[in-house]
Amino acid sequence: MSRPTAAQGEADRLLGPLGERLPAPVKGKPGPPLWLLAELTYRCPLHCAFCFNPVDFATREQELSTESWLRVLREARALGSVQVGFSGGEPMLRDDLEVLVAEAHRLGYYTNLLTSGVGLTEERAEALQRAGLDHVQLSFQDSTREANDFLSHTRTFDLKQRVAALIKRHEWPMVLNCVIHRLNIDYIDKIIDMALELGAEYLELANTQFYSWAEVNRDQLMPTQAQVQRAEAVAAEYRERFADRIRIIFVVPDYHGTRPKKCMNGWGQVFLTVAPDGTAMPCHTARMLPGLAFPHVDTMSMADIWYASEGFNRYRGTDWMQGACVDCPEQANDLGGCRCQAFLLTGDPAATDPVCSKSSQRERVDAVVARAEAADPAQIAARPLVFRDPKASRQLSGRTQGSIPPTPSRPARLPESSP
């Protein structure tokens, strides 16, 4: 018997807020798709201005059948998927949610429900518990009623407090997820106080990542460096002080850092998303990338999707890399960063993530941050947010990703020829 350890001192970090670290990807055959994200629907009662659903969601109304989802769950489990997240949109809007959770539980998944709380009644909570649901992640938009209603565009704050109490009554571990941005980042202490009051075991303070709707609203949502630093200090202080009660995760915003994130723990390494219409992708925003077709779960097996499809192999590992990534000693740490971010900021999905200080196009990120620093608060307040709703989606869905809304002061979004 050798010394017992957790994987020789390494714990596996999946994509949630709670894990630690994944082993570096190995060359050759990828490991199993440990994390299956089942985006059951794009329908949602909220209208968050930072929603990560695609901007053109309203043009994709078709949803997979219950039978297809059950097959997806079985096939992915056979490949080694072990965490399943039921997400959306608002997954409570699928009335077969309990059926899917029950099958996932039977198959041996750890089952996670990612919800805004709307529709999570006592009755459905009991049904989900009977089905074997392991965990509920509740999203919060802010801690004050006014700000919350403003940012989610519906009156949901009271409901979320009720749902949090319901989660506690059913003894589910509760993760609160709060998206942080320019308009709420200065209230981070109040957000943490609220999480403590509600008895959350974990709080993920997720700084807005600028994709999809958040990208449309980037100027209004991008915090200043000073805001980020203050918020991080406040979070650190609380983390220390309440270490026994709550685990606080502060996800640093990309643009304010100098190292790119290992997006999704690497393309096609652990994470498999199935969109509401059955399209399988390495991440939930990957569909924006041009020149890349993603397979459909009704026409390809999950094994072929994961191991053989072009959509999952294109940016897997390091062979596709170019520019600063080639021969970079850090390439295994970050796997070149985020493909969607590279595309949105440079126009080239194979570029080095421009967040990286070694990128020849880092100036594009710096320009965005500089705009946030220089912005006149009154002007920001005067410009309305574009809320996620079907009407706005249809209006925006004709646009080219990354090119609208057109403002004269967005030079960073226009692709230039590479030096």
Binding site: P4, A6, G19, L37, Q137, P173, E204, F271
Partner: protein, 108 residues
């Protein structure tokens, strides 16, 4: 759910002490963790909200015994028999101390 970067707490090993794990105490895998064997990974794993800890062989063998009934002394005896060893008490207690520090188990 976003693809988050760092921020997770590293596994704590520094403060683990054998004294924290008396031989007469009874360890049990704690909520919200769930221990299960994963064929695809050929390993025991601890699952928890949106995360997973992959255990090596000995780590899995120890946690598998933490059923809330066997005390540490019994677990040591079982493992020593299974592995044909007589000196595993400190290894087992050391690992359980780490597990306790990470709240994977409770002791009663």
């Amino acid at each position: 759910m976003s693809g988050t970067a760092d921020g997770g707490r590293p596994i704590e090993t520094g403060s683990a002490r054998l004294d924290d794990v008396p031989l007469a105490s009874v360890p049990c895998v704690a909520k919200p963790f769930r221990l299960q064997f994963e064929t695809a990974q050929d390993a025991w794993v601890l699952l928890y909200p949106e995360g997973m800890v992959k255990l090596n062989g000995p780590g899995g063998a120890i946690l598998e015994q933490c059923d809330g009934e066997a005390d540490v002394m019994t677990i040591v005896a079982r493992l020593q028999e299974a592995f044909g060893r007589t000196d595993l008490a400190d290894d087992v207690r050391g690992f359980l101390a780490v597990a306790l520090g990470n709240r994977w188990i409770t002791l009663t």
